[in-house]
Amino acid sequence: MLEKFINAGRLKSPWIMHFDCGSCNGCDIEVLACLTPLYDIERFGIINVGNPKHADVLLVTGTVNHRNKHVLKNLYDQMPDPKAVIAIGACGLSGGVFREAYNVVGGVDKVIPVDVYVPGCPSRPEAIIDGVVEALERVKVKLGLAG
């Protein structure tokens, strides 16, 4: 019974943390646009937190390079389970136009497991919100709730 309530809470209160892994700020502005009154993601219980210890969903924008891959891994490890990761934008997915650069590792999934990929350069806020909803579906499957 308590487990049922907790699972309801898990699906209705995904707190997101946004990490800019060397993005050009295009995707970052679109992520922040989701918080504005126009999109108002708080109506789904989504809050933007600045702290991996409080976060359930990690949004990563930008290419991963050899310097910041440790930071990304560290942030991911500090998030308590259950958690999900969403890679945003062409750079977060594969390294984008920078993938051939000598200092670039590539997409976010080279360092941490990614649940949902949101394409776009930059991704639209609607696509990012869709990505979070999709991540919740993945969480549902992980919890064994998907019918």
Partner: protein, 283 residues
């Protein structure tokens, strides 16, 4: 006596439910003031349930101890209030809880948590003298620190203590963690201190602190209700109006610095309390 104990126990059990609902309505009204739709009214409960289901992670054992002492102190102070005991006893219980919250924050070396803890201490320095003055003024009017003495009055306290109610409003704003006094932590997405005192807490321990906050909200609003203790409707209207003004102030004010907080809260608070007490004394 048994009847009073049972009443206090039931009230303490219902207090977090009421606190959560108040917090949900608060978020809805705040969203409305910001031209947003806002989360469902039950959102605070979803948040806490989710946090309870997360894997426990703590930087050290003291943090865990402090979270639970804070929660129990908040619950005990609500219990003592509904038992209609001594206002001073309730004040000391509340203070013990607040001190443990600060100790929990200072127990980890994270700079956000450290600054949050020190700011929380400054907040305590601001609201605790005011709260004591409020209780002393109530005792000057009723002749006793007992809450039952307030309910024995035939005229609302607000008639004789209007300025003291304003002083209580200052303490309430700090305790509810609302702007302009939300300097140690707050519920909104202010990121410069991350979450201040709450930064290093996660999962079930953060849930414990949130439930403790609900207890404190109920306690502070109950103290407000004492100012119109002669009728139930009077209490409800007074508390609802006070809380709406709190939300309004939260939305129109920016976060201020701790120096400004100490100056304005202690300055205005002490002057208003002394004026009201002189007026009581002259009568």
């Amino acid at each position: 006596m048994i009847g009073k104990l049972v009443f206090a126990l039931v009230a303490t059990a219902l207090a977090p439910v009421l606190g959560g609902l108040i917090s949900g309505v608060d978020r809805r009204i705040t969203a409305w003031l910001q031209s947003r739709y806002g989360p469902p009214v039950l959102q605070p409960f979803y948040d806490v349930l989710k946090l309870l289901g997360k894997r426990p992670m703590a930087t050290n054992i003291w943090q865990v101890l402090c979270a639970y002492v804070y929660l129990s102190a908040a619950a005990v102070s609500v219990f003592l209030f509904f038992l209609q005991t001594d206002l001073l006893l309730i004040f000391f219980t509340l203070t013990v809880g607040a001190v443990f919250l600060v100790m929990g924050a200072l127990a980890s070396p994270s700079p956000y948590s450290q600054i949050g803890g020190q700011r929380e201490l400054l907040q305590m320095l601001a609201y605790e003298p005011l709260l004591i003055l409020v209780f002393v003024a109530i005792a000057m009017t009723t002749g006793s620190f007992k809450i039952s003495a307030v309910f024995a009055m035939d005229k609302p306290l607000l008639y004789s203590l209007p300025l003291i109610f304003v002083v209580l409003g200052y303490a309430l704003t700090i305790k509810l963690r609302k702007s302009p006094f939300d300097i140690s932590t707050c519920h909104h997405a202010h990121q410069e201190l991350v979450r201040g005192v709450l930064t290093e807490y996660s999962g079930p321990y953060l849930a414990a602190l949130e439930i403790a906050h609900w207890f404190e909200v109920v306690l502070m609003l109950s103290i407000c209700a004492l100012f119109w203790a002669t009728s139930v409707w009077g209490m409800l209207i007074l508390v609802a109006l006070t809380y709406f003004v709190e939300i309004l102030v939260d939305n129109v004010m920016a976060r201020m610095t701790w120096k400004w907080m100490l100056r304005s809260v202690l300055g205005v608070g002490l002057v208003l309390s002394v004026l009201n007490m002189l007026w009581l004394y002259a009568n």
